[in-house]
Symmetry: C2
Subunit: 254 residues, 2 copies
DNA sequence: ACAGGCGGTCGACATTGTCGACCGAAGTGT
DNA sequence: ACACTTCGGTCGACAATGTCGACCGCCTGT
């Protein structure tokens, strides 16, 4: 029986649809958006609802994602080996660098943040665990693009989305940058995704030397860069954190 | 077609099973645990896998939850109205009280933490958003038990799990306490779940006065209580935060 | 070398999810 | 106040669909 289970794929599509649109969606909206009969969509939604994956606003009748997803998402983090091993190293890195630290893994067409250590000052920051970052314009993403063929495959060959003037939008340019990244062993991104923000990332690999994720520090251009280049001391910190995590995962001695 | 979609319910059961057992589970384990034919379990797992809800460890072949759940869980938080409105109030409450602040909603047989503000000192703390707390032994839980009939229904009438010597394990005792909570308008829990930890909670209601969640402060007994009782000043802070959030939700003037 | 476990596949079967018409309620524009 | 639309939800017939259990090749421990 090689072939996905239809009702499951549809349920997944519905959840993604609900996750995408910011506001709640009605039954008919869901049905037409996914080209389903209303009855079919209703059956799936009803099941998802009683499993807790979807909730229904009692007054408007509209649907939104459910609490069970949050619980299961947390369970995902609990068993995430890379994250568990990286926790203390990420903390150390944040303390040593004075900047925000992210830990990300490849997921679909982006980088999923699985750990986030706030910059050790008292500015108000929002936790970004569970959110996605683009592959072609962030340090985390470019590290994965450089070392993980699967990531490169996800990128495709079409023009890429532009976020700032410095975003690389031509896949060929990204490939060239990836060659450089492989050569020197780390990636950076200076205002390629958000104005005023720069980051430096390095690869994490498992015991078999497979790429499994990336760490980065991220912060204001003013503190992360100097004369237009990222500070070498930060690069060293990130790389050594990445090596430490990889070693912890059993990647072997260096 | 009133009746859940079989394959979907089974998929949900599989994900919950994977979330429960700390370690990864093999195909056969899943199949026998849920009393499914191996082929059936495999079909569901394969679909879940290609949707990103489940991942398979390539060397052992065992299954674990997937990254898509984390992403969707985050999306759940993004649209969560209660949480959005409560963010700043929770921050203020943490600053004013000097203690950890939790925001929780009823989910199945427990309280799901949807927001968590660290105690404003520099101790290392782990984020508990997405985790569950028991209903009958925490301030959050008891608030919900006192005001939300659905929560009370979830509790059942059997003996309750005991965590410390002070845990109330008889539903009748809990009901009596709930009556008190309704009378005075707030709940506390002193070492009923974790030794050394006390908390104070109050109800949040929506524009229709329906209970929708609860806030609490939580901290060491030494700072939260005085002479065996919770500090009145903290009670006042929590209650006014709860009122503020309720008002923000449109619960009307008080 | 063997036995027993694993994850995964296959094809027949009938259960199960799907479809589109239909319903009452609520909203909307006139 | 009216007809008209659109909403969420239900129903029953149909066949497409998911389910089942035997089977396969592989690896592991004996």
């Amino acid at each position: 029986m090689p072939g996905p289970i239809q009702s499951l794929s549809r349920a997944a599509a519905i959840m993604r649809l609900l996750a995408g649109g910011e506001r709640r969606l009605g039954l008919s909206e869901v049905a037409t958006a996914l080209d389903l009969a209303k009855g079919t969509a209703h059956g799936i939604l009803r099941t998802l609802q009683q499993e807790g994956f979807v909730e229904q606003d009692p007054e408007s009748g509209k649907y939104q994602l459910g609490a069970e997803l949050l619980r299961l998402g947390q369970s995902y983090l609990d068993v995430h080996e890379l994250r568990a091993r990286a926790l203390v190293w990420a903390d150390d890195l944040a303390r040593a660098s004075g900047e925000t630290v992210y830990l990300g893994v490849l997921h679909q067409q982006g980088v999923l943040i699985v750990h986030h250590v706030f910059r050790p000052d008292d500015t108000r920051q929002v936790l970004e665990v569970g959110s996605m970052q683009p592959l072609h314009s962030t340090a985390l993403g470019k590290v994965l693009l450089a070392y993980d063929p699967v990531a490169r495959g996800q990128l495709g060959d079409g023009p890429l989305e532009s976020y700032t003037l410095r975003t690389l939008t031509d896949p060929a340019d990204v490939d060239a940058e990836c060659a450089l990244i492989r050569e020197r062993g780390w990636a950076d991104s200076i205002e390629e995704t958000w104005e005023g923000v720069a980051s430096i990332g390095a690869l994490i690999q498992d015991r078999r030397r497979n790429p499994v994720g990336a760490v980065c520090v991220s912060g204001p251009v003013e503190t992360v860069t100097e004369d237009g280049f990222v500070k070498p001391s930060l690069v060293a910190s990130v790389r050594s954190a990445a090596r430490a995590i990889s070693r912890d995962l059993g990647a072997g001695r260096f």
